[in-house]
């Protein structure tokens, strides 16, 4: 079955070329059908691949350049259950986004479709690739497609600014990554990840490897929008069309995390796996990201900007899961990715529906306008509850697994911080939902800053299709926590993913794997602690949402005191997210230098 992996890249890329190339000669319905069919076929093959990857890595050596005595010359796609699962979710989200855009974006539809398919192929290639430079190629390919898609609405300045900030920070991240590749190549003379890892097992790691790791991982963290590399994300996601946001926020941001995990467990676990320094830095970055982005989400009134910060917040939680460096944490990150991708996509779809119904995207402007839109309201609230992590809904199972991992490592203090992050982001979304769909709350809110300029768009949409797609995304996402067998499967996938030596043996020597025992197919249970945290922080989210809605009804003294203590830090937060690309670039450099410095201190000696 080793012929499947290249198809996940070849089908979307070829379809993109056909779509764009035959723009003027093929009737529109045929084109639409082709685009959706390509995306569905890619998704279907990803599921087949998932099934085949169960018992051994599906490895494909391009051009038939098999490794010779453990020396890899060619480029390989090595697909375990985790990578295959990623591809399946990526395919699913892109398919939903393409269906959504059938009527949502008619203008320049062919260019849009082609770029979406290119992004799909690039993301799948990235998830599967086992070659360091090949990762860079897919990273740049998806980035180039995403920059253009972000600036889609060229008639307004916001999208252009968002795309500029996105393009410049991510390109810089990519170039730092390229320097990291050159350093690692100089040290090991290899580009295959398994082989680099094996070469690094000889001799001391030294400063070069630490610096190379810093540059490579920070390159991915820019893509993954982790604090302080996250500043571009809100600008870009606030302005891209809703289906693009669904893909960027739902799956493309998470790609950075797949990259971090892949590089760590194939390469850097070899020299640094005995200690916990690498993981601790990732853990801390994750915690800070979760709490800071959760707070920022709560301070937004622009729905898509709010969702963007919610994405960043969940990225933080997932990064913390990866940073625990054990199977529970990684499995938790996987499960959270599954739920978060679909729920986030669903919420962006709902935001798009509101925008096309009312021409508004501001929470306060939309107050009460969503009354009577039952289906979008249901999708919004279900998605929101799923993103808070209410027990056995949406991201809960992932949260629970990360809790287990942290507790096993004796770091239970991590738990409340991560739950706080998702509760803050969830509270913001709940508040917005209550205001829009129920008409609750005040019409003004000092906390949320000045009104945004609205951008009404004339759209002739097929509303039932949009609503159907949004509901489908949310329903699948909500069900992730109670899908039988998924938890066990994720843990098994994480075990396989973390098996550095086994991966190298299977990729470089085609070594067979011991047949796995069949996994129980039942709903995974979580610890009592997670249950309590999940329940408790759902209440916290509800309370915060209510406080946001009715802040003016708080006792006067309390209100003044709260404002006096909270206003200055909030001003600082707003000022840091300045929208100016020079600042963002500066923070990328600061983040890289500090991360590298910390690793230098912890790992050297």
């Amino acid at each position: 079955m080793s012929w499947i992996p290249p198809l996940l890249v070849a089908i979307p890329l070829l379809s993109a070329a056909v779509t764009a190339g035959l723009d003027h000669v093929t009737p529109e319905p045929v084109q639409d059908a082709l685009v959706v069919a390509a995306s569905v076929a890619t998704t279907a093959f990803a599921f087949v691949l998932l099934w085949h990857a169960e018992n051994h890595e599906v490895v494909h050596w391009f051009g038939g350049w098999q490794p010779h005595r453990g020396i890899a010359l060619g480029i390989d796609f090595a697909v375990g259950p985790l990578a295959a699962g990623m591809c399946a979710v990526i395919g699913l989200v892109v398919t939903l986004a393409l269906l959504y855009s059938l009527t949502f974006l008619r203008e320049a539809a062919r260019l849009f479709d082609a770029l979406m398919l290119v992004a799909l192929g690039a993301m799948c290639g990235f998830a599967m690739s086992g070659d360091l430079f090949n990762l860079f190629v897919w990273l740049e390919l998806m980035a180039v497609a995403a920059y253009a898609l972000t600036g889609f609405q060229v008639e307004r300045l916001g999208p252009v600014q968002g795309a500029v900030n996105f393009a410049i920070t991510n390109s810089l991240g990519g170039y730092l990554f390229a320097v990291g590749i050159a350093l690692l190549y100089a040290r090991t003379g290899a580009l295959n990840l398994a082989q680099i890892g094996r070469t690094l097992s000889h001799g001391p790691a030294g400063g070069l490897v630490i610096v190379a790791m810093t540059l490579l991982l920070c390159g991915f963290l820019v893509k993954g929008a982790v604090v302080p590399f996250h500043l571009w994300a809100a600008d870009a996601y606030a302005v891209a069309p809703a289906p693009v946001c669904a893909v960027l926020g739902g799956v493309m941001t998470d790609i950075g995390l797949i990259g971090v995990a892949r590089l760590y467990w194939t390469v850097f676990a070899v020299p640094f796996g005995h200690g916990h320094a690498v993981g601790d830095v990732l853990l801390w970055l994750g915690i800070v990201t979760a709490v800071l982005a959760g707070t920022m989400a709560f301070l937004q009134r622009h729905l898509k900007r709010m969702l963007a910060y919610s994405v960043v917040c969940h990225i933080g939680i997932m990064l913390a899961g990866v940073g625990l460096l054990d199977s529970s944490g990684l499995a938790g990150a996987e499960l959270m990715f599954l739920a978060h991708a679909l729920l986030t996509a669903g919420l962006f779809f709902v935001a798009g529906i509101l925008h096309s119904d009312h021409g508004l995207i501001d929470e306060l402007h939309l107050r009460g306008l969503g009354r009577g839109s039952w289906a979008p309201a249901m999708a919004w609230f279900a998605g929101t509850i799923g993103l808070v992590g209410t027990p056995y809904v949406g991201i809960y199972l992932g949260h629970g697994f990360i809790d287990d991992g942290a507790t096993e490592l004796g770091r239970s203090w991590v738990l409340p911080l991560l739950w706080l992050g998702s509760a803050l982001a969830g509270a913001a979304l709940l508040r917005a939902g209550a205001r829009i769909f129920l008409g609750w709350g005040d019409a003004e809110d000092e906390l949320l800053g000045k009104a945004i300029e609205e951008d009404p768009l004339e759209r002739d949409v097929l509303r039932p299709l949009l609503v159907g797609v949004a509901l489908a995304a949310v329903l699948i996402g909500v069900a992730i926590s109670v899908a039988p067998g998924l938890g066990q499967g994720a843990r098994y996938a994480a075990d396989r993913f973390r098996d550095t030596g086994g991966y190298a043996a299977r990729v470089l020597h085609d070594r067979a794997m011991a047949p796995s025992t069949s996994l129980p197919v039942s709903v995974s249970h979580t610890s009592l602690e997670s249950l309590l945290y999940g329940g408790g922080f759902t209440l916290v989210a509800l309370g915060l949402a209510l406080m946001g809605l009715f802040s003016s009804r708080l006792p006067r003294a309390l209100f003044v005191a709260a404002e006096r203590t909270l206003a200055p830090p909030i001003r600082v937060l707003h000022a840091l997210h300045s929208g100016v690309v020079g600042d963002y670039v500066t923070w990328v450099v600061v983040g890289t230098a500090v991360t590298g410095g910390v690793w230098a201190l912890l790992l050297h000696g």
């Binding site: 035959l22 690039a122 600061v590 230098a593 590298g596």
Partner: protein, 249 residues
Amino acid sequence: MSRRIRIAVLGPALLGLGALFAWAIAGLPAFGDYRGPYGYVLNRVVVPLRHTTNVVMGTTFDVRGVDTMGEEFILYAAVLGVMLLLRDETRSRQAERRTRRLPSDAVRLVGGLMVGGGVLVGLWLMAFGYITPGGGFQGGVLFAGGILLLYLVGSHRDYRPFRIVHALDPLESLGAGGYVIIGLAALASGTAFLTDLLGLGTAGTLRSGGSIPLLNWASAIAVSCAMLILFAEFLETYVVPLEPEDAGS
């Protein structure tokens, strides 16, 4: 942040990054001492195994051929993106009929010679890239530059012929898509993606390297068209600032 604060933050950060670079450099093999296995092996096996005398091109189109497929699509996606981003501008200006002053005969003669040179060298680079230095990308850019120059020094008064380049769109897609099709053809025949299906031929001749010439031509077509479209998108509406009184001359 104000510019002054930004620079104050950036300075120390850059020092830190520089220190990291210095630390990494201290661990590199001294200049010229590199003996990594990957390139060493390729220098010995690519010519006998693939009959391409240019090992770099053998690496680009065969050993690491899928990187190059990604690279073609990076350029392809960028061109689609530029078309997407500049569609408003193009639309608003398309309505205006624009004319320009024709270049003098001397300019046209020199330009014409350069066009011929550019196009010929471009084609030569494309054709012999896998034997001697060159290849689809370099040839493609040069070829596109030559054609563009032909337009600039040519006797077209009207800017609208530039719209013709949009006929290049299908051709560009053919180049990029062709790369994938060649890969898929190998997959369909039961071997790995992008495996050579043709014979290897004699090293040093045009019929060498199996699929490499095909891939090279696919990328040459894709790059030529991509660069032409890119230039056209940027130049279409603004080649030389036009003074109103020149319009009729």
